[in-house]
Amino acid sequence: MSTVLKTPEVQAATTYDVQKVREDFPILRQMVHGKPLVYLDNAATTQKPQAVINALVDYYQHDNSNVHRGVHLLSERATEAYEKARVSVQKFLNAADHREIIFVRGTTEAINLVAQTYGRKNVGEGDEIVITAMEHHSNIVPWQMLCEEKRSVLRVAPINDSGELLMDDFAKLLGPKTKIVAVPHLSNALGTINPIREIVRLAHAQNIPVLVDGAQAAPRMAVDVQELDCDFYAISGHKLYGPTGIGVLYGKTKLLEAMPPYQGGGDMIASVTFEKTLYNRLPYKFEAGTPDIAGVIALGAAVEYLEYLGLAKIEQHEHDLLAYATEKVSAIPGVKLIGTAKNKAGVLSFVMDGVHPHDIGTILDHEGIAIRTGHHCAQPVMQRFGIPATARASFGLYNTKEEIDVLIAGIKKVSEVMG
């Protein structure tokens, strides 16, 4: 018997059914000021799919218990779920080892952790730390605090008028005094995607470790920390469709092993006497105290959700939205985009002639459109462009072209109202 097997042309879809995806997000089904909610503030925080909400509720309803210490069943279940989430995050970032995944409160705490442990140990008087002119305050202030304490120097790599890092100037800043480089993967105020591999290559050529602020990139593109070869990568759960108050510091084992602990307390110890305490192994050395167990488990659910949709598809979807919005918004008279890098994602910052961003925000809110206005915790970026603030629409995996049409109509309404 012979059967002719006809292989159908199986082609992976390049995107997903966004209307169906929207059904996973209960918060989107609401009216704001009598209009359907158009949520375009995803760079500030993202909405949560039902799977994440369920993970929080299920944990508290069925498994709530402390981790790593109980002999009873609930503790066993909680510990298992907690450690399973660590493996999910490991896969999400493609880290080599699950012990390289440290749970923290968010990107801010992850950067502070590195500044206060790696930084305090390795940065001394006259040493230099290199950042960029497009940082969020969370990748400026922890280093400034360290510089103040150690009398070291913060050097800032400049950007051009499009909001792109000037790589030649960046390379020139690196030298024997440079002890760490800290850069954003994707700028929250401008949308610029930085060439992390090239940055890492330049820094590693001089044995300088690189920390990447991945808060905005992780929800928008597939991140592979081994491929990037960065030494630290920091992310926030709430910006990738997970809960607030939880985030991750990825660090290479070798560096993490050599770093002193961040905080002291329970869980981070191997043994304690009044004379001497032996610290626990990785990752627990950096997880003092009872962690945000529910947050970690729900973060695991969030990254699983993103992988189920597919990061490549999310990236494509948001790329299409940004291209569509960029074309439409730049065509409106009197509107100027801030941040026009060639390699860009997720974020559309703009200003309008004669109208302050705060007024744009209020008028759009009245149309049901949520955007962010202000300096976006990036005041030096605003100073670089000589503006006090911008209006920023930022896209998420559930946004649609129809919503961008609503935004465009809203911006036109701003001109009408403000005259």
Partner: protein, 147 residues
């Protein structure tokens, strides 16, 4: 539902585009900065006080339509008033924009800001210049912040 026109009244838009007394006052003997760190609005209010009376007043800075119009109309309303009257007016203006008193007396043109009370996040915009004025009259040196 609050109407946008309750907030962006014609007179407010007109003042925001052509603010009055928008200048550094050379004769000022009181001066203070007002700053909203959340949105970056930033104004300096200059006051020339003589014998307890506001002889002249000016302001400069940058911010949204509401904060700029409020600063402009504040300076118009306060010329010639005593400092005590000015402080009292601030109290009544604050009651107006926070919705605690919808018909305060003697606020004159400033009652156009009544609509602000329907937009709670904009109360700080409307009162920023007044906070700076208060600081200036109290002789405080450091910038006042809305936070």
């Amino acid at each position: 539902m609050a109407d946008l026109r309750d907030l962006y009244q014609e007179v407010i838009l007109e003042h925001s585009k052509a603010p009055r007394n928008y200048r550094v006052l050379q004769s000022a003997n009181h001066k203070a900065e007002g700053f909203n760190p959340l949105c970056g609005d930033h104004y300096t209010v200059y006051v020339d006080v003589e014998n307890g009376k506001i002889r002249d007043i000016g302001f400069q800075g940058a911010g949204c339509a509401i904060s700029k119009a409020s600063a402009s109309m504040m300076t118009q309303s306060l010329k010639g008033k005593s400092t005590a009257e000015a402080e009292d007016m601030f109290t009544r203006f604050h009651a107006l924009v926070t919705g605690k008193n919808r018909n305060p007396e003697d606020l004159g043109k400033l009652t156009v800001f009544a609509g602000v009370s329907e937009f709670p996040v904009r109360v700080k915009c409307a009162s920023l210049a007044w906070h700076a004025l208060h600081a200036a009259l109290q002789g405080k040196q450091e910038a006042v912040s809305t936070e």
